[in-house]
Symmetry: C2
Subunit: 158 residues, 2 copies
């Protein structure tokens, strides 16, 4: 296999930008992700690949819950703010206001939409773990469109 062709072909997969959050005994966890897709209508499932050596991974693996926020077209700085995990303070996460969701995951108030999941399956192997989550709650806060990875000029894949 030609590594350059592999990299180029995989980078042609299209992605949006999301911020995922969770919580375990040590506190809140969060991270910007783009390796996510729905994987079933009934029940509503999503599959998300989370970096194995991250605080977000540790929290999701322990708590079996997570929330996903759609980053809006105008919110590139929100996505960038979560590149390096979670910095919690009183009622904020990385400077952004949060409330607590049904599952206990922190929900950011700024993104246009979010959903919360309970992990129903996981696949280890590789440098990320695939968590399959059943969507148990969701909300829409504004009509803003989603930011795509291509919009930002960022790359994660290949």
């Amino acid at each position: 296999m030609d590594p350059a062709a592999k990299k180029k072909a995989l980078r042609l997969l299209s992605y949006g930008l999301c911020v995922a959050t969770s919580r375990d005994d040590t506190g809140l966890a969060a991270g910007t992700i783009n390796w996510i897709s729905q994987s079933s209508f009934t029940p509503p499932l999503v599959m998300v690949a989370i970096k194995a050596d991250s605080g977000l991974h540790r929290a999701v693996a322990a708590s079996r819950i997570f929330a996903v926020h759609i980053v809006g077209k105008s919110q590139k700085e929100l996505a960038a703010a979560f590149f390096r995990g979670a910095q919690p303070a009183a009622n904020t996460l990385n400077g952004y206001a949060v409330e607590t969701g049904l599952t206990g995951a922190p929900l950011l108030l700024a993104p246009p939409a979010w959903f919360e999941c309970r992990v129903v399956n996981e696949v280890r192997g590789g440098d990320h773990t695939i968590f399959v989550g059943e969507v148990v709650d969701a909300g829409v806060r504004s009509e803003e469109e989603a930011l795509t990875l291509r919009d930002t000029g960022f790359a994660y894949g290949g």
Copy 2:
């Protein structure tokens, strides 16, 4: 959970359009998909959710191989041609020229890029199965950008 909010939030996930192909004892299989993402850099893995009651699913489940083609910005009609599975003829699939890849999967010549996978894991449950594939070959045929689901006005999710 509010079903309308769930639908709207899930539809804000961003997708590209791909054509997946495979082959089993009964012949070639194919379908347009958008529920796909990379899931590891090392080894290079992708996760793809394929409709459980489809010919493509039957072929991938049996043969453990599949190919994924990135649909180009100008190739909406190519994506639409594979909505209803595979119609093979001599050296063509749904009217598009093919060659045979490393894994035995048919490779379409028209799309800007493709990669071939061997299934290393699967997760059943829900109306789609998640197949985790290790990328074993890849190629780039043109410099065309990828078509997104949003570009087409199609929806698959929610």
